[in-house]
């Protein structure tokens, strides 16, 4: 079983080493120096950038998760109308997902360019003077969030599969009872696909805490650290400041945050996720 060797060499070994390193001061040269909980203490109490990056990441996560899930569900609902030729649109909506994140980031940075970009050109048609998107502390984050929503192929397909499994009869029964379109959507469809919503929300929350490429390529965390995300900060600590111990501790805190958020969501899901048979996920 080569996987077993891989597990030990590339996962288990690094896992233990990582735990150890997070308690050391190590700048890659020389030997790691054991400093106990100092890294963690500094991160949690004396690192303003940690707080800044966490706040940025949460800001991004909230709007990214809502945006991606609402748009993906809406597109899935549209595709589920099963009109001729809609398979083509399914392909079209999925294409951004297989596109290189770097290429995506590069083309969007042109489109959002304040002086020559198409976004501001379109806004001008409506008489709006667009901001200098990528150089404004206020507008860069909304721009990045908008760009991130373009990549929604995976949740869209998962929603589509879920919608296709909703029995026709339920909608018909509601129709006969006089439910309008919104009521049918809100009271019949949403509860039935709530396990899928739960799954997609979980995945997108975890994904947004790991966001990296967009900010690295488009903004380098700027302007004024307004888009410095958690993983970008970790990357800088490790590979620009060469503070390996500190960066590793940041990695463990990220793990704990993701773990806690997942646990919280699983707990909260008992209130709103409806399982037909009570036990399947």
């Amino acid at each position: 079983m080569p996987w077993l060797i891989g597990l030990i060499v590339f996962t288990l070994g690094p896992f233990i080493a990582s735990l150890y390193l997070s308690f050391t001061d190590w700048r890659i040269l020389g030997a790691p120096k054991w400093i106990g909980f100092d890294n963690y203490e500094r991160i949690l109490t004396a690192d303003p950038l940690f707080r800044k990056t966490l706040a940025n990441t949460v800001y991004y996560a909230i709007f990214h998760v809502i945006g991606v899930n609402v748009v993906a569900l809406a597109l899935a609902q549209l595709l589920n109308q099963k009109l001729r030729g809609f398979v083509l649109f399914r392909t079209l909506f999925y294409l951004p997902t297989v596109t290189s994140g770097v290429a995506t980031a590069l083309v969007f940075s042109l489109m959002f360019n304040g002086n020559t970009g198409i976004i501001n050109a379109v806004l001008r048609i409506f008489g709006i003077k667009g901001p200098n998107w990528l150089f404004s502390e206020t507008w860069t984050m909304p721009a990045l969030i908008t760009i991130s929503i373009w990549d929604l192929g995976v949740p869209m397909l998962i929603y589509l599969a879920a919608l296709q499994n909703v029995p026709v009869e339920l909608g018909e029964a509601a129709l006969i009872d006089g439910a309008n379109r919104w009521q049918r959507f809100r009271s019949v469809l949403l509860p039935l696909i709530s396990p899928t919503i739960f799954f997609n929300v979980m995945v997108s929350v975890i994904g947004s805490f790991k966001v990296f490429t967009l900010a690295k390529v488009i903004t380098e965390g700027g302007p004024a650290n307004s888009t410095l995300f958690y993983v970008l900060y970790l990357y800088r600590q490790a590979f620009e400041s060469l503070r390996m111990g500190y960066a590793t501790a940041l990695g463990w805190i990220l793990f704990l945050i993701i773990f806690a958020l997942s646990a919280l969501q699983i707990y909260a899901s008992r209130r709103w996720v409806y399982y037909e048979s009570g036990d399947n996920v």
């Binding site: 060499v9 590069l106 020559t116 026709v168």
Partner: protein
């Protein structure tokens, strides 16, 4: 599939005697789909159009979508500006190597988990699922140090070699597929005296074609687009893959965005082709497993 959702649709399906989907309703849905499709295609369109513009057109406002002067020569220039051909070769070596590594090792491990009985199998499987939960950032630095100690930095080895040890997500995916296959064929093969190796090659692999194609396509796309790995392991421009090499077009010696976009178009084409080609399998797997693409 016999079931279809009508919830939230304008009207119910015709055959059931409900009001039919009106022509107007259909036209509206098509219009909506075309509008949204246009928004989704816009960045691709912008990429291609910008790559064909002449330099004087790049700073116009409002910008032109359609180039005034078509300059396909941008596509010739980029090979000389950066070592773009080498980037593409490196990307190909990385992606193809990683696909082979991932498919072979993950299929073997999945077969083990699905069919072989060995001591500790259940525990190991839970460990496997556990590693899926772990963010890669936790392991990042020790792995980096390991490859540094091995003298593998600035080569494709740290990117390709680990794929030969299996990917937990794909192992899980293939195992689920294998468990859905009937065991009667294997039992017949065992009666004929086949060993595990023969069963694996002659029976499991041919039957698993759909899932193997899916995993191969997933991993090609993932590795071709990989940015983080090449970013930290590769330094020398001659070693770069296309995904990181694209960025070298910025500001060296000056940023000509039409060149950047021409290189981006060429970088995007292979994955789009692979996706189109394997779409049938791909879409099914994403939908049923929540795969990453």
């Amino acid at each position: 599939m016999s079931t279809a959702s009508i919830v939230g649709t304008p009207v119910a399906p015709d055959k059931r005697g409900h009001p039919t989907k009106t022509r107007l309703g259909r036209a509206f849905l098509y219009a909506l789909a075309i509008f949204l499709g246009f928004i989704f295609v816009m960045p691709f369109l912008w990429m291609v159009m910008t790559s064909l513009k002449s330099r004087g057109e790049l700073n116009l406002f409002p910008p032109t979508l359609w180039p005034i002067v078509w300059s396909p020569s941008n596509y010739l220039r980029i090979w000389a500006v950066q070592n773009f051909g080498q980037f593409l070769i490196n990307s190909t070596v990385y992606s193809v190597g990683a696909v082979i590594g991932t498919v072979v090792s993950s299929t073997l491990a999945a077969y083990g988990f699905a069919r072989l009985k060995f001591w500790g199998r259940e525990v190991l499987f839970i460990v496997l699922l556990g590693t899926l939960m772990l963010p890669s950032q936790v392991l990042l630095i020790p792995q980096y140090i390991l490859f540094r100690e091995l003298g593998w930095l600035d080569s494709l080895k740290p990117l390709v070699v680990p794929t030969f040890f299996g990917n937990p997500f794909y192992i899980f995916l293939i195992r689920q597929f294998l468990r859905g296959l009937p065991t009667s064929l294997e039992e017949a093969a065992v009666l004929d005296g086949a060993n595990h190796w023969q069963i694996f090659w002659r029976i499991m692999v041919p039957l698993s074609k759909p899932i193997i194609v899916t995993v191969a396509a997933f991993s090609f796309v993932t590795h071709w687009n990989d940015y983080f790995g090449p970013l930290i392991y590769l330094r020398n421009p001659s070693r770069m893959t296309a995904s990181v090499g694209l960025l070298l077009f910025r500001g060296d010696p000056e940023t000509v965005v039409s060149w950047v976009m021409a290189a981006a178009v060429i970088t995007v084409i292979p994955v789009v082709l692979v996706f189109m080609w394997t779409q049938k399998y791909y879409v099914q797997s994403v939908a049923s497993t929540g795969g990453k693409g």
